[in-house]
Symmetry: C2
Subunit: 351 residues, 2 copies
DNA sequence: CTGAAAGCGCTTACAG
DNA sequence: CTGAAAGCGCTTACAG
């Protein structure tokens, strides 16, 4: 910090009166050094605040690392997972020169078995770090257990599975995102008026996540002492026709002021509102995906709550890198910011 | 991309039937290579998509780079500039191992002369890249001209000065941030009701920026065809007493529904509203600074519009790095996202 | 216009 | 338990 001389292994070796090979052994906690020399070297390291040159380290080390990622495939239904994939690729480009290679695996969000098949493939390989989306909670736990058996650090993105020894989690804090959504809703509904929460999903595993958001949403009004009416609609299909039918039922003879969709499927609701030419219902939902953006721009959707899926994956990979290459401590939980996107600021948003 | 062999200077030299020194000359556009060999080498580079190993490059190059930054000092009045400083320091830590050292200079936002004094000091040194906040437009232009004379690339953050040959600008797009603010206001005021815009500043140079935001703000209502009344208050002092007086005048016998402050000084307005126990006026302003946050948390301030000042500085430094170290093209204008911060999502925000 | 050699700060066998 | 030497992929003088 105060402009000290920068020293290297050579200088340390000289001062300690040993060879650089011995210094290297101490620096990297390799075995086979007497306690006396070890201490002598460590003292010098401390005194001069020696910082290894990471460039030289990676260049000299012929050891290559293999990172593996396992996330949902981009599907026709949603291009959401394109963003995390982009984040992985950005990280890949950045750490490639440091001798790290990537293997990318994908599973089908509608087919739990594909997740299992893929993780079994991964476990057969020689990998140094894993990043995955634990979309199917139980299977994710099994995968995690296998990783631990093999002492492979693993990182979660997008959703967390508490109670495991993952290196870290990078993603949203769901409760607060629902809570934030409620604040926005609060500018739109008045006392006595109605809001409608809609959960659209056919994967049982995702219900937990949706309900966390819902809890946050409800908590806001409880805490603020607002007397709005909250209705709820569960839709267990993800095709427009089913959703259309459900909405027709729910909105009939009903004076809903605002709809809060707990995941990225609000484009279906928007499609419905547009089709029926309903203009006096505000709509808030999640995620910066193509289908939502077009409705945001035309004003059918009022707010999108987003959590930088690209950055999630990028940071997740970098956590593995920090741990395995830089040997740094990693913060276990890294919550993303809760971003509020409107028609006006969306063009500046980096998803 | 398709798992080709990774080749290095050695392989290229071998294939071209020359020495690696010659390859190096071509790769780095140094003089003294015949056109024939140059072409031969470039063809191989292209054919194998040779990517230089940046680690080895920096390690081998004994050339050190000096980056200089010139930003406002953190003052009693506002800790805003702490964030960009943190961003610079983060970038510094990251690129230090690549042989880059930093000199940080500061000026007083209330004293234009300090900016001039500092930049003259900088110009006397041997520097390779400069990042600065062009708060005083004319003086910034002079500084920029000197940089160009010396062929030193320079980057702007926080506010732009169009028409110059800066390497890039990283910061907000002001018009759109005002426009976004208006959208939020629009949920609060109804037709026929009143909004108040307040510009608080005593630096004439900053007025341009405030007015850009104001233009965006007004444009929204014009475009949406909303018939709200917009009043405006100019305050040319930045102490509470002056502001208190101005507010008392402006709010007397007036039914303002929402106040939009065009910079970070809304904490003064919040202080006033709190003091006078006025609860039915919503307040929107700029910037994630301590003084605003406390009012945000108690609900006096409804929304804060923020633009990641830390990331601005970080990205600004990295632009110099990309240009000078990686020899990459740099996008000239890099607008930050326009972030909407509420009581609920503020604790997840990374300013 | 071109090449042989040393070196950047580390790690990695190998030898003792 | 320890050291001498080669090498990672580049750049930098120096010599021709």
């Amino acid at each position: 910090m105060k402009g000290e001389e920068i020293i290297g292994v050579k200088q340390i070796a000289q001062m300690a009166g040993v060879s650089i090979a011995t210094v290297d052994r101490v620096l990297n906690n390799r075995i086979g050094v007497s306690e006396t020399t070890k201490k002598k070297i460590n003292d010098i390291v401390k005194k001069y605040n020696y910082q290894p040159n990471i460039l030289a380290k990676r260049l000299a080390s012929r050891r290559l690392l293999k990172f593996v990622t396992l996330i949902p495939a981009v599907s026709e239904e949603t291009d959401y997972w394109q963003a995390p994939l982009n984040g992985i690729e950005q990280a890949e480009a950045e750490v490639k020169p440091f001798g790290i290679s990537f293997d990318k695996y994908y599973f089908d969000l509608n087919d739990k078995q594909t997740f299992i098949t893929q993780y079994n493939k991964i476990l057969k390989k020689n990998v140094d770090g894993i990043l995955f989306a634990p979309s199917f909670v139980e299977d994710a736990k099994n995968f995690a257990a296998e990783c631990e058996k093999r002492k492979i650090p693993y990182v979660f993105i997008n959703s967390d599975v508490p109670g495991l020894n993952n290196l870290c989690y990078v993603g949203p804090e769901l409760f607060s995102s629902g809570y934030t959504g409620a604040h926005l809703v609060n500018y739109i509904v008045k006392d006595g008026e109605k809001a409608l929460i809609i959960n659209i999903s056919k994967i049982p595993d995702s219900l937990y996540h949706l309900e966390e958001k819902e809890k946050g949403f409800r908590k806001f009004f409880k805490k603020e002492g607002k007397k709005i009416e909250i209705e709820k609609l569960e839709i267990r299909e993800t095709d427009y026709l089913s959703i259309r039918k459900a909405l027709t039922g729910a909105l009939k003879n009903n004076d809903i002021k605002v709809i809060f969709v707990t995941n990225s499927r609000e484009f279906y609701v928007a499609q419905y509102l547009k089709e029926k030419k309903i203009k006096n219902i505000a709509l808030i939902g999640y995620d910066f995906i193509e289908k939502n953006l077009s409705y945001l721009e035309t004003g059918v959707i009022d707010f999108l709550i987003c959590q930088k899926p690209k950055a999630q994956a990028y940071r997740g990979v970098m956590a593995l890198y920090d741990k395995l290459v830089k040997n740094e401590e990693v913060t276990k939980t890294h919550y993303m910011s809760i971003d509020i996107i409107t028609k006006e600021n969306c063009k500046f948003y980096k998803n």
